[in-house]
Amino acid sequence: MRRRRPLRLGPVLLAPLFTAAVAGASPSITSVRRDVVVSSALPGRVVAILADVRIAARVSGDVIVWGGDVSFAPGGSVAGDLLVFGGTIEAPTDRPPPVEGRVSTPGSLLHLYLSEMRRAPWEGSGLGASVLGGLHLLALSVWLMVALGILYFFASPLARAAMSAEEDWSGALLAGALGVLTLFLAAGAALSLLPSSVAIPIALLSAALAVGAKIFGMAALFLLLGQKLLKTFAPARRPAALAAGFVVLGGLSLLPFVGALVWSLASIVAVGVALVSRFGTPRWRIAVG
């Protein structure tokens, strides 16, 4: 059973310079880009951003980690919840992590599925290809279902968005890249500079806008790609065209490495398509008196 991804030399070599060694003087630890080692009992919680956390003593509160890994040394435990966003959890050998609260990696449905199948998130590396492939296919079927739903209820806006992507690919790509960066920086700036009560809704709103734009834009891309493949823009052929475009992009996404790259690029273009076409709203509305 594999426990951990390959050792990263950078954090190890730089640890003496950047490690926030904790002696328990402060009730809580907050660290950005500095690895954390909890070596004595901590009454508060640990929050680490872009940093690994090693727990060698009891932490009474939560441990929240963004973009870093969590590992346990003998004697280390967490009385609260352990939340890891975009990182891994290394548990002690053959034991679950010593966490009294919830252990969660909210970004990953795979980990939750494995734990439901009685395999815990920290054992994820030993899973078979069939489980990964199965979840991938299920995710793709949900994608197609959602895209068809958008086409069913918003056929005209979706067709307009697809047409705007066809007319200006470079504009959609540029708008997508700028849009994603703008939303990301807006959330980051809000979280850094504004009070949490204001910043969190702004960050959630930015995330919701990005997700909505991606979903709508991807459906438009499926449609456009399929229309090009089938060489028809007839409204009655839209469902078939959307499915054809989806088969191409979804099929590519199954390829190792290249698939992730293509899907990521398509996602950026998709955000751009949604923004450039203003979610397919017409520029002019016709009113007849």
Partner: protein, 186 residues
């Protein structure tokens, strides 16, 4: 105005307004005469046609206008309800979903010596549904807590916030320009 229980398809409303034969309902004209709601649809279509006919003749024709209008039009009610248009994509959704479930099932089938095959087939499906529920629940309950932690940590790095703010302004301006250019060319 009382809403109609069998409203006219917009294409039929245009056909009746133009004095042409309806496409979907042979009795469309007769129905509209007795139904205020559908008559309003016909009147709106007629007004649009008259407004278009009233355009000055020197107005230049927009190249490809007809193709664009057809390409962008919404589905008619008939098209929405015609299963033949949708069955292939719907079958594709079901097929991909079934293939995914079959792959998830493979490890569970190894345990079928202890369970009936029907029960072992349900294991991954139930686990998936429970996982999806937990995922949504985690996202709703833990997401804000994670964001609060992130916010507290970033508050200690005011330089990061200032840098993000500094980069945000030119990016937002650039995005605005790109969107304005796209709007002009539409």
């Amino acid at each position: 105005m009382t809403p109609c229980h069998r409203p006219l398809d917009p294409i039929d409303a245009e056909a009746v307004a133009a004095g042409a034969d309806p496409v979907f309902r042979a009795d469309a004209a007769e129905h509209a005469r007795g139904c205020p709601s559908c008559q309003a649809l016909v009147n709106a279509a007629r007004s649009l046609a008259e407004a278009l006919e009233g355009l000055p003749p020197e107005s230049p024709a927009v190249p490809g206008l007809a193709e664009r209008v057809v390409r962008l039009r919404a589905f008619s009610r008939r098209e929405r309800r015609t299963y033949a248009l949708w069955n292939a994509p719907v079958l594709l959704v079901l097929g991909i979903g079934a293939a995914g479930l079959a792959l998830l099932l493979r490890p569970a089938l190894a345990a079928s010596e202890q369970l009936s095959s029907g029960a072992s087939a349900l294991v991954p499906l139930v686990a998936l549904l429970r996982a999806a529920g937990r995922w949504a629940s985690d996202l709703a309950t833990l997401g804000p807590r994670g964001l609060q932690g992130l916010s507290e940590a970033l508050h200690q790095e005011s330089l990061l916030g200032a840098a993000a703010l500094g980069m945000l302004a030119p990016l937002a301006l650039g995005l605005r320009k790109v969107l304005a250019r796209a709007a002009r060319s539409r």
